[in-house]
Amino acid sequence: MINTALVSWKAFGPIIPEMFLVCIGLFLIGLDVFSPKRRELLPWLTVIGCLAALVMVAGEKNIVGFGGMIIADSYASFFKIICLLGVILAALMSEHFRRTEGLKQGEYYSLMIFSAVGMLLMASAGDLMVLYLGLELMALSIYCLVGLPRNDGRSAEAAMKYLLMGGFASAILLYGISLVYGLTGTTDIAQIAKYTVTGNLLENPALLAGLGLMIAAFCFKVAIAPFHFWTPDVYEGAPTAITAFMSVGPKAAGFAVFGRVLFTGFPQFHDQWGILLSSLALLTMAIGNITALSQTSIKRMLAYSAVAHAGYSLLGVLSGTAEGLSATMTYLLTYGFMNMGAFAILVLLASPGKRRESLEDYKGLAKTNPMAAFLMLIFMFSLTGIPPTAGFIGKFYLLKAALGAGYTMTVIGLVVFSSISAFFYLRVVRYMYMSDPQENIALDFTPGISAVLGIALLGVLGIGLLPGSVIGQAATALLGQ
């Protein structure tokens, strides 16, 4: 007989936001099936549900549940906020996007919410098992989202490439986990650090191999070179609103597990992973920025820029300090705002039958649509890292953290490659402001897309002008850990 008193509702405390989101996701499926007339409500219900979850997540204070498997601390809640913001902005964007693309709504929003649940679990994973399950829940939902436009061959191709690469990466992750489990006898991340010391495993080559395999798999997920090959194809083939979502949520969740596993599970190995990650960061920045130079499609250029920005964000992680990790967290939030903004302009410009993703389509945009061109200008400045935008502040703190930890070469690399990046970001600005318009595009500022642009602008300028608040939040999130 099971003693029912043992199953207390209090035990579910740490996963209340996740359970709430699952309910919302199921409700949306039900609404879609049983009340097709109310489909117009789906994006707004998604936004409201995620806002409610956001409030719950922000109120979480260091609860550890399920025997250490779920750690809902302030570190996790910072990443959860980034992921939920990503879902909210992507849902608002989709409200506009589906009109131009003629996308069937159906399971679209519920898949988005389920992938958010996966990200939330990743952020608060205290055990490699939960980490794996969260990662797969996120990834499987996104494979479906990428392949959702069934009549578009490009989406199917992107989904296939993503699924193959993602499946390969998770198999590598699992093999790494199995090696670590074999040596330490546990999958609890905090216990691993203890056993490596007591079990005298600091020099063990098999443990290092296990750690290396896990790092390689995480690099796949956040698109760090040389594991970034899927990124440009998947970003280009996926529906634009989903591309925007993928560039923010999964990346933040990936960095959350990066930080958690390296800082909590393997802090004694900082000498090894610090060097490894600094060379990967250099390679990523080089490949991302140099390949982006030759792109003629803005969507593809933003994909390579996502690779480059993953390289920048890595700088905070590799420094191995709390300061560095808080710089990475701040950078991911700023990147979320500016990238969502840039993709929102892409969504705004697209009209039925015409995607307008190439550079040529932006010629003379300032003359036909000064508002859209000005917003794009701000987002491009922020992606380059020009003050007073948020991109500058984010890069500044990353540089400071990496310099403080003694990675001078990587810092020099960041400065050189981000000045190279100015060429392709500002080329968009040049096309918009210094060329003659080719066609007169009538833009439709629907409530959804206007809200995305407003929030993104507010985020980019807000963090750029008042950086202290966000940095402070990130720092307290780490110290409260």
């Binding site: 499987l140 069934r150 193959l164 198999a171 593809r300």
Partner: protein, 100 residues
């Protein structure tokens, strides 16, 4: 009793076969099968280690891996079907609309 190292070597060999298959095969279905082989190598490793360490975590993990692998196979085959409908091929080298 069969020593642990035998299980681990078998698992390493299976995993390596899976990796080679994934990298050399160009048929979508064969690549899926290679990933499944890699996952089963991990399962073998987990179960053997779990028995050897006398801890249940490895076996519980294996259940989760099997479940997720099934879900992944369902989605993968679904995507393969959509791809076949639009391109009439499941050969990865012929699916190359996105590049640059």
């Amino acid at each position: 009793m069969i020593p642990l190292s035998w299980y681990m070597s078998l698992s390493a060999i299976l995993f390596a076969i899976g990796v080679c298959g994934f990298l050399t095969r160009r048929n979508l279905i064969m690549m899926f099968l290679s990933i499944e082989l890699m996952l089963n190598a991990v399962n073998l490793n987990m179960v053997a280690l779990s028995h050897y360490l006398d801890s249940m975590r490895g076996q519980v993990f294996t259940f989760f891996i099997i479940t997720v692998a099934a879900a992944e196979a369902a989605i993968g085959l679904g995507i393969a079907i959509t791809l076949y409908r639009s391109r009439k091929t499941v050969h990865v080298d012929e699916v190359n609309q996105l590049k640059g």
